[in-house]
Subunit: 309 residues, 2 copies
């Protein structure tokens, strides 16, 4: 699968997918969900298809946050690609959640491509896990900046992030506080499982773009509602989902913004003039994860595997 | 997988599953659904778990009714068994829809076990396809009767059914009309993709039990509403589903019965006195298909494969 992911092609496919979704050409029913206690965990089922495509996709993704105690990854899952004319399964991609991680990170790059300021002087990464790592690596596809600040609740993990990403060519400093990171950076990505806001409007300087990818389900939150109140452009991957959960839902509930203030990423991709207007604006992208991302990455992999060139 | 299905064990597991479901011990979210045109088809996603089980199950099933034109089976699908403590997939059962066919047929046997008259004198099968064949084979587990009437829209297919099932030890007559089948039989199973009622209350003689398995989604119907009005006991696999679709939903809409007249199969399994009281009553079981069936058959297969004795 690794060899099937050409970064530029994946980014282009995700852009197509989001545009199709926002134009109503993607059939994406509500996410299926199972929730577990003892140990806590959840399972999301995302599925759907893009009109006139030859395939449809069902993705099963799990997150069990105590797996680390067993020396296991917290996320896992698989994707199934089925033929749209016969219903026959054509591929089961046993990716163990890797494709979900990659499509989420590549979507961060898509958001940055359309919303980041022209000149990014510092990249701030909030979080130190797999997704925090992948987000930074994928930003390389669209952003020329290697100055990075990282913040994590666990200082030892933040130092490990610094060392590991340093080896990949980034110049990483550990920020003592999130406020320091916000001061030093004008492109910030949050990738944590937090249930309390980590970033606040007062800390964000003008010209900053923020992408939040952690709040993919009920209860999770990374951005205080006042960030949306302060932002000039508020982008979400899915209006339908972001009304129900994700950071934007808290801002809506708090009355900081109304639903009309939110623009879907797919609309910005089709009409870039709806995005950032200049390098003084604040922009925010709340990404909760949409089945079109799974559809597009699964198809990219399957095409390569089924039709090797 | 065939070797993993011990009929008596599967029936016992299905009984446990339905009982758990009706007692609220099964977590079974609403069925996920995709619908396709040109060619017409659909995809159902059923998933869930039984409390205190070590696994949860996601089942993807497809039905594309023009596949026969391509020489392909109309149904296909697979089941995924995941570990309930870690979210890790433990097995992907590429059964091509076979396990769904089997669990549906075995559930017909469960319904007959609890609802058929004490002395079955004739078995009537409406339909001539795979499910119509499996239903008859599975009835053998619980009913001592080999006199069979079959009716199908296509007389040639009905004759083929007669010949094929004759070789399996049944004495099968092709009924010229459904009315003739109803006259000759006191245990009737309908297993068709019909969208119009095939059986009507006026044709059903006292003492008959009817199991309807075809109407598993919106628009499909095999039993006229007056059958429910005439029946002494009306059983459904899932009250929640049968309010929305399946034969009972048409009877509810027509005002022939109210929701309180419906009893879940799992309750009858736990309290058999809620079922048939004597051999003069008319009973009906409307089976739309519930994820607990998939959970139970997938676990049975997986136990056998992962823990071969």
């Amino acid at each position: 699968m690794r060899s099937a992911i050409d970064p530029a092609r994946l980014i282009a496919r995700l852009e197509e997918g989001f545009a199709a979704y926002s134009e109503g050409r993607a059939i994406v029913p509500p996410v299926g969900h199972l929730s577990f206690d003892d140990p806590p965990g959840d399972c999301h089922i995302k599925y759907g298809f893009i009109q006139n495509d030859e395939h449809f996709v069902v993705k099963v993704a799990t997150g069990f946050y105590h797996n680390a105690d067993l020396g296991l990854s917290s996320s896992n899952g698989l994707m199934i690609v089925l033929n749209r004319k016969t219903g026959y399964p054509e591929a089961v991609l046993l990716d163990e959640g890797w494709l979900t991680d990659v499509r989420t990170a590549a979507t961060g790059a898509v958001a940055a491509k359309y919303l980041a300021p022209h000149r990014v002087t510092g990249i701030g990464i909030v979080g130190t896990g797999i997704q925090a790592r992948l987000q930074l690596e994928w930003l390389r596809q669209v952003i020329l900046c290697s100055n990075v600040n990282v913040w994590g609740r666990d200082a030892a993990k933040a130092r490990r992030y610094r060392d590991d990403m340093g080896k990949k060519g980034f110049s990483v400093d550990v920020a003592p506080r999130i406020e320091d990171l916000c001061e030093a950076c004008n492109l910030i990505v949050t990738a944590t499982p937090s249930c309390l806001p980590l970033l606040h409007g007062g800390d964000i300087r003008s010209g900053t773009h923020i992408t939040a990818v952690g709040a993919d389900g009920g209860g999770k939150q990374e951005l205080a509602p006042d960030i949306f109140g302060k932002a000039d452009v508020c982008v979400v991957d899915s209006l339908a989902q972001c009304r129900q959960y994700g950071d934007a839902s808290f801002a809506l509930q708090a009355g900081m913004i109304s639903a009309e203030d939110l623009i879907e990423l797919g609309r910005v991709i089709r009409h870039p003039e709806l995005g950032r207007k200049d390098d003084s604006q604040i922009t925010v992208a709340d990404l909760t994860g949409v089945a079109v991302q799974d559809i597009q990455i699964a198809r990219l992999v399957t095409e390569k595997v089924l039709l090797p060139s």
